[in-house]
Symmetry: C2
Subunit: 160 residues, 2 copies
Amino acid sequence: MTRKWLDETEERAWRAYRRMFTLLESTLASELAEHTGLSMADYTVLSNLVEVEGRRWRLTALAEHIRWSQSRLSHQITRMEERGMVARERAEGDARGAWVVLTKAGLRAIAEATPTHLSGVRRHMIDLLTRDQLRELGDVGEIVVQHLTEDRPGPGSTMA
Amino acid sequence: MTRKWLDETEERAWRAYRRMFTLLESTLASELAEHTGLSMADYTVLSNLVEVEGRRWRLTALAEHIRWSQSRLSHQITRMEERGMVARERAEGDARGAWVVLTKAGLRAIAEATPTHLSGVRRHMIDLLTRDQLRELGDVGEIVVQHLTEDRPGPGSTMA
DNA sequence: AGTCGATACATGACACATCAACTTCATTTG
DNA sequence: CAAATGAAGTTGATGTGTCATGTATCGACT
């Protein structure tokens, strides 16, 4: 039962990583909610819309990009639509499809939220680390990501 | 709008980190669910119970430890109680309080789940990294964690 | 044209998380 | 010691995610 699965260095890395995520996420989420009224889910959708040509995504493509299930995205878009931040448009040339497009209100919202959010990212993480640590973190992330995308399952995720 | 908030190195680190988490989490969650029928939430509770003296926690203490709200934990415990993995016991000496204790079934469940889970952690992350990278990751995590616990808010989190 | 299997998306039921009360007991304090 | 304050947990309403399924359309093949 008390057999060790990870040695000391490994366990320390794993625990620290996990705790970092938990704390960081909840801090960023509450700062974002407090300053802008957006949830992380909202932010994910909006920020992905704003940084793309035409400010529109096909539902499925976006879902895949942010690793959400189609269903989750569809529900989320429905709710955001009700709040006027995005709109659906029928896709020309494919009568099944639809675009999610950013509205003026959505654009305003993300424009306001971005500084808040990224300054939090900076204060609570980026600025605490050296250039080397940032590079290491990038390397580590990319290694793991690459491993996990060498075919692997699809959606069923938790966030962006 | 296209003003840069993070430089290239910073943005790469941030994106890689985030993507790593998303992928890792969903992979580990589905492997765990498939092999053991437990959710990550179940695993979090069980693993924290098993590694402590007496295999019991006071509700509030556990909630704080894993950074959940009391309410969330209470609901989760109720559901796990229905499945027979944990039980509540009234606390002696404090008639308001209650202990969550691990049951035999819960012990069996976590004993089975741990190898599955940690081998996933290993395969999908630990074994991909060098010792130095593990140490760096540990350092980075601890730096951020320390910063975020220098008073900071409480619960309102998302996971363990 | 007609069938068939895939694709794009929506939906409703259910599981889980969050939020704001609420209950019960402990502790402080005037 | 009574009243107030606070701590420990619970509960129910509501918001959000998941799963299985439904509907429409597309594309290919006959």
